[in-house]
Symmetry: C2
Subunit: 291 residues, 2 copies
């Protein structure tokens, strides 16, 4: 490809908008689309062009990034009225960045393939700040030549790119395995931290010791750091990881794999939502452990 | 203290012997003691002097390190026949490095105090290799002046020393909180890794992606690295962490703290022992997850 690819972003929530901002700052002038008018207004003010529908967007770009919340939304933007599949040119490659079940992304890939459209399974991780800086991570599965074709743009978006396999679905699979683990490690961190508090230990000392000991984890350092500051302002709200751990345990059920810790973590995340903390950062799971 | 303190080590299993070797290599000529004749023979061959009993050892040293396996053994070496408490000089300070329940170490401290002997609550972490190199970590609780008095020797033993508080029991408490978390993170790592294997993902790719993503933990990197090499030779055998997670959940029960993930992890560790893997490294918990 001699000219840089034209990129469209469908779904400009926290992650999608951050990705679009990053592309804009690097001169890529992304075309964007969202069902929420206020999100489109914000993007317009930043200097982005708004497409009138997913189909209209797909007709004008080389690469469509789908960054919506769940499988139902992915399906809607791809196959709904004026969806990507209804476009006339069918030359754009679709990259699904949402965290959804492997069967869902496989199903989308098959339907698009029948229309001559390629799909890359490309879940992302790292949060809006890293997405905006181009330092998020990305797990890529699909046709190797197609992925290679977009290497320059992927390099702009994610400084950590993992080529998982050529099998669409493996991106979703490894993302769910990772998020299952992040979810369990988060609930575990809260359970242990709250136990230490209840034993009368100094919270800062607990944090300091665990960060340097065998109980350390990425999620412990990150989320318990917020707990120490009593800062539950949402970076990632509780329902997001709850959804992902639920998807992971259902994926495991589908192959007869046991997930006793995943189930216990899911129950605690659901309890966190039920106790009214859905609008807070997922570090708020510790509130369910406190007396 | 103008002359370096004389140190004795009671319990020269994997950790105790590694500590004694480290002290020997730094010219401290530790006096040692174990109930197992073969352990004492090994120490003698290394050039260490063997005491005839815990009491005899305590009479000749400034600091007694207790590095036995559990609370019953701690009690036996302190208060059994020819135990430390039966010594004549009673000038040595006792440092309990074993991972035991807070009430157990508090009980020992009270009984020793009545005899004029000080106890420092000092659980250790890091495994034999780090103990031998003097790079293990140590969580210290007890009289601050007494701890400071032995600063030079503690610096030789552990390059990471955490002064938790002046309250004996807090060393045990924070150690159990850490090991609870390490135990949950280990079982979680095995659960997620085995799920990834079952989904047909390349194990090396799983390892690489998780180590760089939000599911990362110290124990994942360490133990799943062994799983990748199919190396279950024991560094820490399954029953050790099983014991610690059991102690931690019982400590939590004592204050009415919920530990749903701790209980789920404990059940899986116990299952690992029940399935015949007690002699293997605790990474073997993954064997219970494989088809």
């Amino acid at each position: 490809m001699t000219t840089p690819p034209v990129v469209g972003v469908i779904g400009i929530g926290a992650m999608g908008l951050a990705i679009a901002k990053n592309l804009l700052s690097r001169g890529h002038l992304p075309l964007v689309r969202d069902v929420r008018r206020e999100a489109e207004d914000e993007a317009r003010e930043l200097g982005m062009e708004i497409a009138s529908s997913p189909a209209a967007l797909a007709d004008r770009v080389d690469l469509v990034l789908v960054v919506v919340v769940n499988a139902a939304e992915v399906e809607a933007v791809l196959f709904g009225a004026d969806g990507v599949a209804a476009g006339r040119t069918r030359r754009a490659t679709v990259m699904v960045c949402s965290t959804i079940a492997p069967e869902a992304v496989i199903g989308c890939a098959e339907r698009l393939r029948a229309l001559g459209i390629d799909l890359i399974d490309a879940p992302i991780s790292g949060g809006p700040a890293r997405a905006c800086a181009g330092t998020m991570s990305m797990m890529l599965a699909g046709d190797a030549r197609r992925i290679a074709e977009f290497d320059a743009i992927l390099t702009c978006m994610a400084n950590r790119r993992f080529i998982i396999s050529e099998r669409v679905g493996d991106g979703a699979r490894i993302k769910l395995v990772n998020n299952l683990l992040a979810g369990i490690n988060l609930v575990a961190a809260a359970e242990a931290f709250a136990l230490g508090e209840r034993m009368g230990l100094d919270p800062r000392r607990i944090y300091e010791v665990i960060c340097e000991s065998s109980g350390d984890s990425w999620v412990f350092q990150d989320r318990m750091g917020r707990v120490l500051e009593d800062d539950f302002g949402p970076r990632a709200r509780v329902p997001i990881l709850t959804k992902d751990v639920g998807l992971a345990t259902r994926m495991a059920d589908g192959v007869g794999a046991a997930t006793p810790l995943g189930r216990a973590a899911l129950a605690r995340l659901e309890q966190t939502v039920a106790e009214g903390y859905a609008g807070l950062d997922d570090a708020a799971v510790i509130k369910t452990y406190r007396p």
